[in-house]
């Protein structure tokens, strides 16, 4: 494995909203602000779901050395073991001043955010922790509960070594508060065999989607599979696609920075086209609210639908369900012929250090190990940590070991090419201010089902966006290299 400094130019947003939807909470009581947190918690937290903290890694046996607590949201034992194998154990072997690292497991993304807020407001919580993306960091930064990482960025050259698109959003009010631990892009996944059988062509425009969709429906299949019954936030995948495809990266960036309002005709047009797809029953035959995430892959694997619009995290799941046909992955068609092709990118996971850690030196060492590409590259390129940790650096084809899924390799290399050229768009979970984002996905179904007008929807988004902008909570949005 090799990483060249200065090789990295730009990178895209990312964040795995699927992993966001899981929940957990951690109750920690202490004096001072903890009482306030507990006070709110006792009556409000019963609805947060359960939290659990489980011991993770082995002890290195170094007497008097630190035991770090590592906050994570992946609850599956195989995932935890993989991270242990590729990251934690090697780290412990080479860092004798850390005796052990214990997992603090939060049951999913929502629980992760809620649990961290509670714990850190009580000056407790894990020493190093995941968060769902850079847009989740401003509250921690404002409260002083996340440590500034400027020294680590300077010492390790992360500003240039890692994808700039991934590190820039961690910059808040002039300071770095997090490091990106993975990136992801939205793509079009399709049933290659079905396309061949019926002689369909991949769509290149919105009109192509309309034509193809009708052809697919005539064969009795669904056009796009989707399942959001256990992930309301996952509706935003379609928001993100629509805005990127209709506005293009340049105009979307103007909207995200407040130069163009959400009520702009171009944004209205994006929502109108998205609703058109819904009204035509192209999206899960209008049944997305009754289908779960796993089921949507199972149904796609059963040949129920021709396509899926989803992110690269799908590589960690698709092989479980798609066994009877060949699947393909390609870039999503743009809806507006006047805009350049981009891939909506995002950062779905970031890492940060708790300001109240008793072991700041060890926590910094661990964060460095976690962030610096060599530490977990092996786990990633073998496909075992696709949706957990993805090094935000350029890879070459030769770095992937023989036998790695060729579609995975091809997709990652394509994304990296687009990052290098600056042809990236923005996913909502990385580049939207978080309240605007939450309103957007929570109310998309209302728009699609006709209980809320597009104008009201975007008007309310603008109102929330304005308040977040006034509070200085807009995330940094990297500049793409596109003309439109």
């Amino acid at each position: 494995m090799h990483v060249e400094d200065n090789q990295l130019v730009v990178a895209g947003p990312g964040g795995n909203p699927w992993r966001k939807m899981v929940t957990r909470r951690q109750l920690l009581s202490s004096a001072g602000k903890g009482a306030l947190a507990l006070g709110a918690g006792a009556s409000l937290l019963p609805v947060l779901g359960s939290s659990n903290a489980s011991a993770g890694t082995r002890s290195a046996g170094a007497t008097g050395a630190a035991t770090l607590r590592f906050g994570i949201e992946y609850t599956d034992t195989p995932d935890q073991n993989t991270v242990k194998q590729y990251i934690l154990n090697p780290f412990l072997a080479s860092h004798k001043d850390t005796a052990a690292i214990d997992y603090v497991v939060y049951n999913g993304a929502s629980a992760l955010d809620a649990g961290l807020k509670l714990a850190l407001s009580a000056h407790a919580g894990p020493d190093v922790a995941d968060e769902n993306g850079p847009s989740y960091m401003p509250p921690f930064a404002n409260a002083g509960t996340a440590m500034q990482l400027d020294d680590l960025y300077a010492a390790n050259g992360w500003g240039t070594k890692l994808f700039k698109f991934a590190t820039e959003p961690c910059l808040y009010k002039g300071h770095y508060y997090c490091t990106p631990s993975e990136y992801e892009g939205l793509h079009l996944w399709y049933n290659v065999d079905m396309f061949k059988k019926y002689g369909w062509q991949l769509p290149k425009s919105f009109d192509d989607i309309l034509t193809l969709g009708k052809a697919v429906q005539e064969t009795g299949h669904w056009v796009f599979m989707a399942g959001f019954s256990d992930c309301t936030a996952c509706w935003e995948w379609w928001n993100s696609y629509a805005f990127n495809a209709q506005l293009g990266a340049k105009k979307l960036r103007q909207v995200l920075t407040g130069a163009v309002p959400w009520t702009d005709p171009a944004v209205v047009e994006a929502m109108t086209k998205l609703k058109q797809l819904w009204d035509l029953a192209f999206i899960a035959n209008k049944e997305a609210s009754a289908i779960s995430y796993d089921e949507h892959w199972a149904l796609f694997g059963a040949g129920k639908a021709a396509m899926v619009m989803e992110g690269t995290w799908g590589f960690s799941t698709i092989h479980e369900y798609v066994k009877d046909f060949t699947f393909g992955v390609t870039t999503l068609p743009m809806w507006n012929p006047a805009v350049e092709q981009v891939v909506p990118l995002g950062i779905g996971e970031v890492e940060f250090i708790n300001s109240a850690t008793k072991y700041p030196a060890q926590a910094k060492e661990f964060l460095t190990y976690l962030t610096d590409p060599p530490s977990h590259l092996a786990g990633y390129i073998t496909g075992k940590m696709i949706s957990i940790y993805a090094p935000c650096v350029y890879l070459t084809e030769s770095q992937f070991p023989p036998g790695t899924d060729p579609i995975f390799v091809k997709t990652i290399l394509e994304i990296q090419g687009l990052i290098k050229e600056g042809k990236f768009g923005y996913v909502s979970w990385a580049f939207w201010p978080f309240k605007t984002e939450a309103y957007m996905y929570d109310n998309l179904s209302s728009v699609l089902l006709g209980t809320l007008s597009i104008e009201s929807y975007l008007g309310q988004m603008q109102k929330i966006f304005d308040s977040e902008k006034a509070a200085g909570d807009l995330p940094t949005v990297p500049v793409p290299n596109v003309t439109a």
């Binding site: 006070g39 009556s43 409000l44 509250p139 409260a143 309301t232 009754a290 289908i291 939450a438």
Partner: protein, 316 residues
């Protein structure tokens, strides 16, 4: 006539009686003190775990707070927004009212009906009780998943019904904004009515059988026995179930959240799911607290009604 007889003293004022009375009072005080002493740990725990946080929550509803950092006092602003600028809150209130009416009628009728039927049999009653109660023991997560599968548009009952041209029985259970709340209530009812059935069975078992014999001698038929013997004697149970159901309906969270997360289009939103969304997804802890406080306000009215009923002695 004209002679006024002084009323005898209620108690003789003998020194012996005074002593007995005093010692009885002291003994009563000691007993009362001991009782409070035993209750004290629970009171302290309850006050610490429920009371203080509840007061904090009420206080928090007057603040703007993200859940981290400093909170800013904003007076009644959260409540003003809640009652004047939050259409989802209104929808959520409507839904919990529908939920309350449903659970005060359907599961109660099912529970009472089944209990009346089962109470008439002597052999196998335990088996029936067990079967009725079994769904109550299944975690709501599991029940939700079972019903999600039943409602599934691809592998659930809908495709089967549609294949038999019974489309009117396949109303898109979890995707229709008109049906989704009922779908969730059906799932929850399945898991709940057995509990009520067992409660009613226990209550029915405590009714003195000679009352029915007397009613029979007086010429009462089955309906009149039910109307004038069973129902009045079930009143304490019914009132208790009514209170429990109302309180529980207003704070219902698990089934709506697990099955639809309040959607689609807020069609199954409840006060608790809306509070959760504001707390977790919007990081508006103060606003979420105002929803919690308002919900508690609604429930205080319900509890006041219950207390009134008890004071009036209608419960027994």
């Amino acid at each position: 006539v004209g002679i006024v007889t002084p009323a005898p003293p209620r108690r003789a004022a003998s020194p012996l009686l005074v002593t007995r009375s005093s010692s009885r009072t002291r003994a009563q005080r000691r007993r009362r003190f001991r009782a409070w002493l035993f209750v004290l740990p629970a009171l302290i725990a309850s006050g610490g775990i429920v009371g203080i946080p509840s007061l904090f929550t009420v206080g928090l509803s007057f603040f703007s707070w993200s859940g981290l950092g400093a909170a800013h006092f904003i007076g009644f602003q959260n409540f003003v927004q809640l009652f004047t600028d939050d259409s989802v809150f209104v929808v959520a209130v409507e839904h919990v009212l529908i939920w309350t009416v449903w659970f005060l009628t359907i599961p109660v009728a099912l529970g009472l009906g089944s209990a009346l039927l089962v109470s008439r049999i002597s052999r196998g009653q335990i088996a029936y009780r067990t079967i009725f109660y079994l769904p109550v023991t299944i975690a709501s997560v599991v029940v939700s998943k079972i019903w999600q599968w039943l409602y599934d548009p691809v592998v659930g009952v809908d495709p089967v019904l549609q294949a038999h041209h019974l489309n009117f029985l396949a109303p898109n259970w979890l995707t229709s904004t008109h049906v989704v709340l009922v779908s969730i209530m059906i799932a929850n009812t399945w898991a709940w009515w057995g509990f009520l059935s067992v409660l009613f069975l226990v209550a029915l078992g405590q009714i003195d059988g000679t009352l029915y014999d007397s009613a029979k001698v007086d010429g009462a038929n089955a309906w009149r026995s039910f109307r004038f013997v069973t129902l009045p004697l079930l009143r304490p149970t019914l009132i208790f179930i009514g209170l429990l159901t109302t309180l529980w309906s207003f704070i219902t969270f698990d089934y709506p959240y697990l099955m639809t997360q309040g959607g689609p289009a807020h069609a199954s939103e409840t006060l608790s799911t809306w509070m959760y969304f504001n707390l977790i997804n919007m990081s508006q802890a103060g606003y979420a607290a105002s929803i919690a406080t308002t919900t508690t306000g609604f429930l205080l009215v319900v509890i006041a009604c219950y207390v009134y009923v008890r004071i009036r002695g209608w419960e027994v």
